[in-house]
Symmetry: C2
Subunit: 156 residues, 2 copies
Amino acid sequence: MQKTVPHAAGLHRASLRKLHDLDAALELMYYGWRGMTLSADQYLATLGLSRPHHRILYVVARQPGVSIGSLIEILGISKQALNRPLNLLLERKLLTSRRSPEQHRSKLLRLTEAGKRCEQRASDHERKVVSEAFDRVGPRGAAAWMAVMGAIADNN
Amino acid sequence: MQKTVPHAAGLHRASLRKLHDLDAALELMYYGWRGMTLSADQYLATLGLSRPHHRILYVVARQPGVSIGSLIEILGISKQALNRPLNLLLERKLLTSRRSPEQHRSKLLRLTEAGKRCEQRASDHERKVVSEAFDRVGPRGAAAWMAVMGAIADNN
DNA sequence: TTTTAAGGTCAACATAGTTGACTTGAAGAT
DNA sequence: ATCTTCAAGTCAACTATGTTGACCTTAAAA
């Protein structure tokens, strides 16, 4: 009767026939991104936040005092697209914005303590996943992974 | 006077201060996905197609005669979400659907010759990027990359 | 004082998805 | 033969994340 067992669609990796040598690599890139971000996204969702919010928090954590214009450039989105998630983070007091004394026309963004905690926890989820994977292959394997990803990332 | 040179936002990798050891890895995953899919997406855009269309073509190429229900499961999207891109591919005659003689109530999808060419070219763009990156690290590095990505991907 | 730069906001739109409700067509069961 | 079930198809309303274009405000610079 072949009652099709649901695959928990999208969660598990489909096992497709490989037409080419590198097909497995293409699929791993797809599922790798999901695997890395899944638990972080679940954590963020409990706070009513999502990927765009995390990206903002991540950048501001590493560039404290960044201006809104620079943030737009770094994230590669329009100011209108930045507007909503940024304002939510400000309302929630995960971020502060003040005008600098000298450059009074640009606003400088910083994380609050709550913002730091949130960013750290979200990124920790991602780092944990990567860390465990690196542990399986040792430092040389990890270095190879970084080298491959660097070469792929530079493909603009 | 510090005239800010535009960064060609989103295209180049931002060089952010690293707060943690693995921050570089997180960023590489983000930019890696973009780097791999960029040229394929550009090719697809010339045909008025995009990522969802490519995913459909990719799966059907590797599972010829797949039913719509199975495709939905594999892709992990709703049938309503599948509907538009699938119909476009059928209209464009990149895909065919016929009811099978015995299981006449499910439709079986196959690529046309044009569909095969399109899928192959799009995927070739991605394989080329990965292939060049693998060439830089040799077979052992490539194997390590696959192992790391497999471990990350299995993080459900 | 006028211009420019940075930021903010509004509207309209695109894309890629969701859920819910319903219809159609073919197969299987009684 | 009819009823039920299953696969597919469709319609509507909604969400999230982005885009352009237009316009306004505020503060600094010419």
